[in-house]
């Protein structure tokens, strides 16, 4: 009985105090000077943690004040889980009364969040790549934007490079998830347009310890080149296995692989690989007239000052770009209404949709009512891995 009481009392105390704290906090958060409140939900844990962590890190670099107005960021983790992403979304809307939401890191979670955003008329700026998030712009997607380049833009870069280098047939190996799936969908038409055949398609899982079977199958189809659609360090495994099994042709990676950990893990196995990427990846090598060069260099130096040398990645840059986009749009919205009101959110959405010549770390953006990405070729560079580093390739025609 005594024990029972103790346990029950303990639990009750924990629950009640935790809940009470929650209540107090939610009620009493100081809402000083009508700050613009931005909800950020990223996948800091779960399968997409390698995307979510740098994204969450980059939040600290975003502007704290825009046009004299303070901007607050509330960062939550959605564990790469749709349910949590949507719950975070609802929390932002009902509890934090945010004016816009940034996130999430992957397409499936974002797709579900967009539903809630549209329902509550809150703009959502996604950090996930798939074009489905913003295309076609309809009643629902009216409220959705994204900063990463469309896979299509990147796929086109790969296809162009392949065509230029005489590749006639390609084998594809990608993640068994939304990322791999999305890339397959984009690369198919891009290759077709260049008359390149896709001769084999294989899949693997992020935590797989071996892709020998897939590699053998790919090589059996005798492609001129192979492309690997994986994000982060796991993208190195197929490259290694292919090398090990004696594949001599060129290997293409996607911009998902573009971080320093990939180079560290891939080592000499990824030497020579070609991939499309955001300009930020090779900021220092960009020609001085590239519009993104300055801002990208600033982002890199700020980020590395805070998180250590070599820690920067393009994922963080997507978050930074989202910040730049909002920074560009907020002043216009402030002219229309006060933050925290539906009018402000609508105005903010309109302002984002009308954003013109916003310079990202990754290209220049011109949004239109039918294009909620707004990027052009300037958002993509082709990069090759040479001597364990990213090397900018000259732009192909």
């Amino acid at each position: 009985m005594k024990k029972a009481f103790r346990i029950a009392a303990f639990t009750a105390a924990v629950t009640i105090s935790v809940s009470a704290l929650g209540l107090i906090a939610s009620g009493s958060v100081a809402r000083a000077a009508d700050p613009v409140r931005i909800g950020v939900t990223v996948s800091s844990t779960g399968p997409a943690a390698s995307l979510g962590i740098p994204e969450a890190n980059a939040v600290a670099l975003l502007a704290k004040e825009v046009a004299g107005h303070p901007v607050e960021y509330i960062v939550l983790d959605d564990s790469t889980d749709t349910t949590k992403g949507v719950a975070n979304m609802r929390k932002f809307i009902s509890e934090e009364k945010v004016d816009a939401v940034v996130g999430s890191s992957v397409t499936p979670v974002t797709l579900a969040m967009v539903e809630v955003g549209a329902e509550n008329k809150v703009p959502v700026v996604s950090l996930a790549a798939n074009a489905k998030i913003v295309e076609p712009v309809d009643e629902k997607r009216k409220w959705a934007f994204k900063t990463p380049q469309n896979d299509r833009l990147m796929a086109k870069g790969i296809a162009d490079h392949m065509a230029a280098n005489g590749v006639k047939s390609v084998g594809f190996i990608g993640f068994t998830d939304a990322y791999g799936e999305g890339w397959l969908e984009e690369i198919k038409p891009a290759l077709e347009a260049k008359g390149i055949r896709l001769v084999a398609v294989e899949r693997y899982n992020r935590p797989d310890t071996s892709v020998t079977g897939q590699a053998l199958k790919l090589m059996a189809a005798k492609p001129d080149a192979i492309m690997i659609a994986g994000a982060g360090t796991p993208a190195a495994l197929p490259a290694r296995t292919l090398k090990e099994r004696g594949f001599k042709g060129p290997i293409y990676q996607t911009h998902g692989a573009a971080n320093n950990d990939f180079l560290r893990v891939g080592g000499k196995d990824v030497e020579g690989s070609v991939l499309p990427a955001g300009p930020v990846l090779v900021a220092d090598q960009l020609p001085d007239n590239h519009p993104s060069k300055k801002i990208a260099q600033k982002f890199i130096s700020d980020y590395e000052a805070k998180y250590g040398k070599g820690s920067v990645s393009t994922f963080g840059a997507h978050m930074y770009d989202a910040g730049l986009l909002l920074q560009a749009a907020i002043p216009a919205a402030l002219k229309v209404a006060k933050p925290g009101t539906p009018e402000f959110r609508a105005a903010l959405r309109d302002a984002i949709e009308n954003a013109k010549d916003v310079v990202y770390t990754q290209g220049v953006v011109n949004m239109t009512p039918t294009d909620h990405v707004g990027q052009d070729d300037r958002a993509r560079v082709m990069v090759q891995i040479k001597d364990g580093a990213w090397k900018l390739l000259p732009a192909s025609k």
Partner: protein, 346 residues
């Protein structure tokens, strides 16, 4: 698929299967002795691999702090649990295993890590850091639950798994690592290319299996573990404390996990959460063996590895589906093969 491809896949499957086998054996061991289905087994693999990777880069792995923390909590838990019958000698013993040992390991690691010692030393350090976590975790999480049902123990194991995975992310980050192979030699056997690393894995696995066999068959302590597994009460009646057997079982689990991590890390990139799926496949093998038989667990693990390799060739999208669904007929066969007996409650 021609013969040479088949042979390559077979080799690949057997190597992966060897790792699953180690984990499967460890799971059977822990379960029979303690009734804990030790889901966090896989985390030791990740921790081992990633600790080694950090040492290789000349960094001090954060896992030493975890080791120290676990040691302290374990010591506190033990003193608290035994507060009525504690002797000075016992307190000293606890201080020795739970405080002095991890402190020594941590100190040596901090000293040696920046010097990039030879691989052998790195591996020894890794094993020394990870192995004691097994018994510490047992004392903190499972010892107080010794008489609970299997289901409760399983849920507690899941709790430990969640906590360790979270810690893994904090310590190692989301990106993975791969270590240098022990041997970069390649041998050509017929049309088959065999890497030195895979020979290492097979060799170490075989040696470990043999050592475990000798331990269980030839030493009294090993027999005491078996005795605890067949009859806990009987073991207690002859003075074999379940806590002792369990501590040994968890120490072995920690060791086997860390060693598997060390072995597998040159082959593939290991992430903070890779361990779960690897462990789950070891678990599949252990279950096929009815959580009871070591030889069957070993054989089943190889089977899982080979099926996985073949499935990744034939239908890579559905590889996991094939690997996991293949066990259902095996389980059915095992159930039907066994006489219908009254089931225990757990």
């Amino acid at each position: 698929m021609d013969l040479s491809i088949f042979l390559i896949l077979l080799q690949d499957g057997v190597i992966n299967g060897a790792i699953y086998a180690l984990l499967g054996l460890s799971l059977v061991l822990v379960f029979t002795v303690t009734r804990v289905i030790f889901i966090p087994q896989g985390e030791f693999v990740s921790f081992g691999a990633l600790t080694l990777a950090l040492l290789e880069r000349g960094q001090t792995p954060a896992t030493i702090w975890l080791l120290l923390a676990l040691g302290v909590v374990s010591a506190v838990a033990q003193v608290w649990q035994g507060r009525r019958t504690l002797s000075a000698r016992r307190v000293l013993a606890i201080a020795g295993t739970d405080l002095a040992l991890p402190a020594a390991v941590a100190a040596v690691t901090m000293l040696l890590a920046p010097m990039k010692p030879p691989v052998v030393v790195q591996i020894a350090l890794t094993l020394a850091i990870i192995t004691p976590m097994g018994p510490y975790i047992y004392r903190m999480a499972f010892q107080p639950l010794a008489e609970a049902s299997t289901l409760v123990l399983l849920i507690a194991a899941i709790g430990v798994h969640l906590a360790l995975t979270g810690l893994g992310l904090v310590f190692f980050g989301a990106e993975g690592s791969r270590t240098e192979p022990f041997s970069s030699a390649m041998f050509e056997i017929g049309s088959l290319l065999v890497s030195g690393q895979s020979l290492w894995i097979m060799g170490v696995t075989a040696a470990l299996v043999a050592a475990l066999g000798a331990f269980f068959e030839l030493t009294l302590t090993g027999k005491a573990l078996r005795a605890t597994a067949v009859n806990r009460l009987g073991a207690r009646l002859v003075g074999i404390a379940p806590s002792m057997s369990s501590t040994i079982a968890f120490t072995l689990a920690g060791f086997i996990g860390a060693l598997s991590g060390v072995l597998v890390s040159p082959l593939t990139t290991i992430y903070y959460d890779t361990g779960f799926l690897i462990g789950l496949k070891g678990f599949v093998a252990a279950i096929i063996a009815g959580l009871a038989s070591y030889p069957i667990a070993g054989a089943a693990a190889i089977l899982v590895g080979v099926v996985e390799a073949l499935a990744s060739f034939w239908a890579s999208s559905f590889k996991e589906v094939i690997v996991f669904l293949i066990i259902i007929p095996v389980l059915l066969w095992r159930t039907w093969g066994a006489p219908v007996v009254e089931e225990d409650d757990h």
